[in-house]
Amino acid sequence: MKNVFLVVEQNIQLTHDFYKLVLRGDCAGNMAGMFVNIKLDGFSLRRPFGIADSDDHTITLLYKVVGGATKYMTSLMAGAIIDVLTCLGNGFDLNQGRKPLLIGGGTGIAPLYKLAKQLNEKKPDIILGFRSARDVCLTDEFSQFGKLHITTDDGSLGIKGTVVSYLISKKLDYDYYYACGPIVMLQALTKLTQNGEVSLEARFGCGFGACMGCSIKTVTGYKRVCKEGPVFSAGEVIFSE
């Protein structure tokens, strides 16, 4: 973990409710699957976001407007300085599998972006699931890194259904998966197959392991999503019934 002050470089609207935020500063050490925790004026707790992309000097986040804090974020102008905890949690294990599959649902596509970029050479399949056509974005970008499959709940773009129903219907060639998305998606996915890893979300108090606000049950005991996670081995997580 590092506490850094980053400068807003870009804050662009991608869809009706999905934005891209580029921050500049000391950004070294942020691996795919790690997250940052941002202090926003007027909000008591920090807000966690998976790292969508990063290099030593920039971090890119993708965020959806879901409440007051993310609405406030849309007002951040280039030049604004924000207090960020970076290098939080543990990233994806890039050394698994020869033919990876990336599965993202909703805002869960964010951490897969940097991952896809890094797995480029392995030519991964990438399934991204959205609610509807108007939510779909970043398809050109993801297409650079692998074979892209799009699903929408209402079938208004790509294949109708969820990423999991798509996975069941298609015979995709993969030997390891990386998934991020809503808990119901991850639960359905891990029921289907456990040969991969999943990135979880939870309401955090702190985001760096101090408060035990995000502890989940795993086959190897209680683990904190923010500290031992957010990436867990797919067979490890015990989803509540």
Binding site: M1, S44, F204, G205, C206, A210, C211, Y222, S240
Partner: protein, 305 residues
């Protein structure tokens, strides 16, 4: 000469700043962020006789000026705390610390307290008789003076170390609780624990927290904390450790003027992992601003009596 030096229960502290139980884990993880030896002391995560997972998620809800938590005393149990957690902490922190003990029954508290009698790295026991997040335990003990007195007596009888009783603010008369603890033999009072609060999810129309309500902490509870520190420190002779929504060095001073002999920093550690470090570094400037030479001079006379 260390201007921040404070004495608490006969022990010299580098300063009166102590991370509050439940917001600092078992301490050692914060040593990744800064040298925790600068701290006055540390109050460890609430520990119970047996391991506990605690409550289902969600355990956290944000509030306009703080947060609600309902962890439910997740901890690996006293045995593992002693064997594993304290061993890890010893490597990065040179002084003994304060263990915080939770429970469901008199026996829980008594047996758990006993286990720390011969643990060198513990110098005091803080009895959490006010946790709002444990069904059938915790707070029930902390809202009845007779129970407080009795429980304090029972623990004091078996304990060889200073006993701090942590009080709940969710009572009609905090003085009655403090006096009961003092009569039971407590060496010190710490307060306030969290206020019981609730937030509702407008989408699901149900409480955000899995167990509905939880403990509300953060800047929003500060005025209640100051009032209770003030009232308590004027009705008992034992020292009072003040806590509740303290976020900066000026508020530390306010809590000490209210009557605190030392302060605990809670929720602010979760918002800013460097909170205690910043407060310790800022304190000399605040003392200068108000022409105070040593922080010990603002501690009320009746304390440590």
């Amino acid at each position: 000469m260390n201007r921040l030096e404070a004495e608490l229960l006969g022990r010299k502290l580098k300063n009166p700043i102590i991370p509050a139980s439940g917001t600092f884990g078992f301490g050692y993880e914060f040593s990744e962020y800064y040298d925790i030896n600068i701290l006055g002391s540390i109050a460890l995560k609430g520990t119970t006789l047996m391991p506990r997972y605690g409550n289902p998620l969600p355990r956290i809800a944000e509030c306009p000026a703080g947060m609600i938590n309902a962890i439910g005393l997740q901890n690996p149990g006293a045995e593992q705390v002693i064997s594993t957690e304290l061993t890890k902490l010893k490597k990065v922190y040179n002084e003994p610390v304060i263990i915080n003990i939770g429970g469901h029954s008199f026996n829980d508290y008594i047996e758990t307290s006993k286990m720390f009698n011969d643990v060198d790295s513990i110098w005091a026991v803080e009895l959490n008789i006010s946790c709002p997040n444990v069904t059938g335990g915790g707070m029930a003990f902390g809202t009845d003076p007779k129970t407080i007195k009795k429980l304090t007596e029972c623990v004091k009888k078996v304990l060889k170390k200073p006993l701090i009783v942590k009080l709940s603010p969710n009572v009609t008369c905090i003085q009655d609780m403090a006096i009961a603890a003092e009569e039971g033999g407590a060496d010190c009072i710490s307060l306030i624990n969290t206020l019981v609060g609730m937030r509702i999810d407008l989408k699901t129309r149900k409480p955000i927290i899995s167990v509905k309500s939880g403990g509300y902490s953060g800047p929003g509870v500060f005025p209640v904390a100051i009032r209770m520190i003030y009232e308590t420190s004027r009705c008992v002779k034992i020292p009072v450790i003040g806590m509740g929504g303290i976020t900066n060095a000026r508020e530390v001073l306010e809590a000490m003027y209210a009557g605190a002999s030392a302060v605990m920093i809670g929720t602010q550690n979760l918002v800013d992992p460097f909170a205690c470090k910043k407060i310790i570094e800022d304190l000399p400037m605040v003392l200068d601003e108000f022409s105070i030479e040593n922080i010990s001079s603002v501690i009320r006379r009746n304390a440590n009596a």
